[in-house]
Subunit: 363 residues, 3 copies
């Protein structure tokens, strides 16, 4: 429970003083949590970030509502009776910080669960928590206030930064480094061997994967995602990268700072993704290519060569009724023939047209 | 080992009395298990569900064979010497229930393994089993005859329904609810944070994910699949939904009852899938869209907008030899130009035709 | 640390005596590890396998450099001052074996961690290692020098072959068999139930999955990958198959020896992949189809019917700027109409041509 004024102070602090807002109404009203426009009551904070939902905002019963000045002016020129208005140009970000301030803090008590197995040669900060069934190997280093929850595995020489949280069942192979304030979700695997084999007489010879995975600060990695260690040299995830569930990142990739990667994306080895890129769900990035900073890739799109210029790129086969698809898809195998027929026809018509003209002028 | 008559009784019970069959031959013959048409012997039950396999059914040595009346009439008008025939219009369903009746029951003994860590504030039904290395947190509730197998993690306030089975290494975050008779396979993760961030000055601000995951009864979830908790409000999987391996379901999705989702599917946040839908393997559903009840989506198809009417939808780029693809694929970037050239040509020919006509009438 | 001569001996032994090389320079120079051409110093071995990188090889400071005769002749006709040259036609394979010889051996000590739970009815070879929190069930058999690392689960009657390594958190359901010298990475799940259900009155009836998974020798399986047990009969992965991360293989598939499957691939049930096939990342193989030996499938390609002849197959929608895609993609739904318009136009022009001719001859 925080008053709106307390919330505003908390948001400002979380945003590094860079996010100001104007409160219209009673700043002493208390807020217990967040809710959608439809479901919010007097104890809730809600938000309007997209003018499309103005209709819902007009009738919300939320105790407090964050919105931009233009939305306020359109909806509540004289203020709102139901809601205290928090007017902020980055309404969604303000809401996000406020939701953080309101979220219950569920950090486990510091210390090591009796069932955990921590190698005596590991360095575990006394302010960190090691959960039941967790295993921490020799030479690992667990930073202040870090959480290594139930059943996690932290390999030899792994470093876990301050306040980083490994949710239950995260596994980190030897030698990898995770920065500060990261969140890794259950089932993700950091530092498994990259997929590297040399062909030899019809078989595959394993190339030992001698690099590691280096993960910056403020990175989030979703459930079940896998990031492979480098073959020679490291796989690098820069600061602030956000990775959703079931994402695969191959050996020796580099993901630029503050990029966001949605679920089911696959990035093959040695790809370099720029900063602030956004990769849509189930997109696929071929190996050894480079994607420019600030590129946006649509979901389900395969990127098969370098992107040198930021832009919004798409490559999705449109869906249709199956019988319509049956009629159309097979033609894709013969587009070149269609074009060739068109060319011949153009030539023929052009020739004929010339003839026709000549005929006319002849007459 | 069950006699065919005993099997028929068991199937009828499992099917709620709604699945009758006619036995042609000796109902006292005993059956030990199921097998394919080719591999079955006298102790096996096999089935013919697709007329395409009649040829194999005609020569099977199965002790018992489930099939539809039309197949029986075609293959064994006078009965079969080798096989007792079980004639049923839903032959495949009859077979499925019979296989259930014949399958060995491997439920572990009730009780809690010594190595498990169960919080004293959890409610664990005495008829349930908690396997080695499992962790059950405060406030969790494990229902009658439920199985929480080796290395599972059950978070705070999670509810596990009657007779539900969590295979080794399932992880369920706090506050999620799983219904009765569900089966969750190893490595699946229920209730990890949804992928929700607000952009702010080139970085991403985390939006706390305050909802949960609610899973109905009789749901099966495959190995390694991930279902995220809601941002605000819950992610909902209705009764009878079947989900294959490595499926990702984003925050605030709702999957309608009795839908089936094949492997490698990704469903982005806030999508609503209707009832009895079938999503083919590796299909992808964009966020915030709605798919009508009874829709069928082909594998590898991306659904990028609402489907308002049930149907069979496909969007697959057909595969071809790479050199053929090289010739054709690039033309896709210029289909609009091809169409434009075609239009101009049509106009030109039409004009010429008119000229020609006029010329004729002039003459 | 090995001298180049020692390395050559080790490579020859690892390659079964089938890989010879010629050393140009001082065979007594010692090598500590491998590095890229750019980063290598005097203590490193590097390699040139692709003539594209000759420029880098020309200036590398690597202590030893493996390369083919043609590259040597082009770059170092008189030998190299910086590097000892190892001339070998299979330079990449030679490098791979050498990297194996140089890689530190990190096998854990034999024996069973105190926290592991091994059923008294399991057979565990005394030379194998069972890590902390691992669970080995009744009737399981762990072969000589096998490693079952932290938190792994080995079900009833599972067999793990000699020198096979299960990295932390691998889970193997009852009855599956893993051959010798395999490497399974964290989070992979072997033998979960296949996705088999019979439709019955709008619901799904589970078909018990009574088969197992049989995995040959020298197989590698990536992090988070899932291989389902057979419905009736087994799922089979033949010798030498290499599987990357987050790959899903459905029930009753057979993957031919020495095939390589990149990340995020989905293979639906009962598919048969030939020997020495290569499946690109995020490709998708439909169920019940057969792919010929030595086939190569591009990444992100959906294979929807049998491939009877080896070849390189592709089916990728090319990516483009989104606005270009908007113009072009919708036309795919009407390719058949475009073709029909083209046909009519061809007919019209042909007819007109005839008319024209007739007109001319009339004159």
């Amino acid at each position: 429970m925080l008053s709106i004024d307390q919330l505003a102070t908390a948001v400002s602090r979380l945003a590094g003083g860079e996010l100001s807002a104007r409160v219209v109404g009673d700043g002493q009203r208390t807020i217990a949590g967040v809710a959608t426009l439809e479901q919010a009551g007097a104890e809730h904070l809600s938000f309007l970030a997209n003018p499309r939902y103005r209709r819902l905002a007009a009738v919300t019963r939320a105790g407090a509502l964050v919105l931009a000045e233009a939305d306020r002016a359109a909806l509540f020129p004289g203020g709102s009776e139901a809601s205290v208005l928090i007017v902020c140009e980055s309404a969604y970000a303000w809401f996000a910080f406020a939701a953080q301030a309101l979220a219950p803090q569920a950090a486990p008590a510091p210390g090591c669960a009796p069932s955990a197995v921590v190698h005596p040669g590991a360095q575990v900060d006394p302010s960190s928590s090691i959960g039941p069934m967790a295993v921490v190997e020799e030479g690992a280093c667990i930073g202040p206030a870090a959480q290594v929850l139930a059943g996690c595995y932290v390999g030899r020489q792994v470093r876990i930064g301050e306040s980083t949280r490994l949710n239950p069942g995260v596994r980190i192979y030897h030698g990898c480094r995770i920065g500060a304030r990261c969140i890794l979700h259950s089932g993700c695997v950091i530092g498994a061997d990259g997929f590297g084999f040399a062909p030899f007489r019809g078989q595959w010879v394993k190339i030992p994967q001698t690099g590691a995975v280096l993960i910056g600060d403020d990175v989030e990695i979703g459930a079940g995602s896998t990031i492979d260690r480098g073959a020679i040299g490291d796989t690098v995830i820069e600061d602030g990268v956000k990775i959703d569930n079931l994402v695969q990142i191959g050996h020796n990739c580099r993901i630029g700072a503050h990029s966001a990667i949605a679920g089911c994306v696959g990035i093959a080895g040695s790809a370099t993704i720029g900063r602030r890129c956004q990769l849509g769900g189930a997109s696929m990035i071929q190996g050894h290519i480079t994607i420019a900073d600030d590129s946006i890739i649509a979901g389900a799109t395969a990127i098969t060569r370098d992107i040198r210029q930021a832009g919004f790129y798409t490559g999705i086969f449109p869906f249709m009724l199956n019988r319509q698809w049956e009629r159309n898809a097979a033609l894709l195998r013969h587009l070149d023939e269609l074009r060739e027929r068109l060319r011949r026809l153009e030539a023929s018509v052009a020739a004929h047209g010339t003839d026709a003209k000549r005929t006319e002028s002849d007459r």
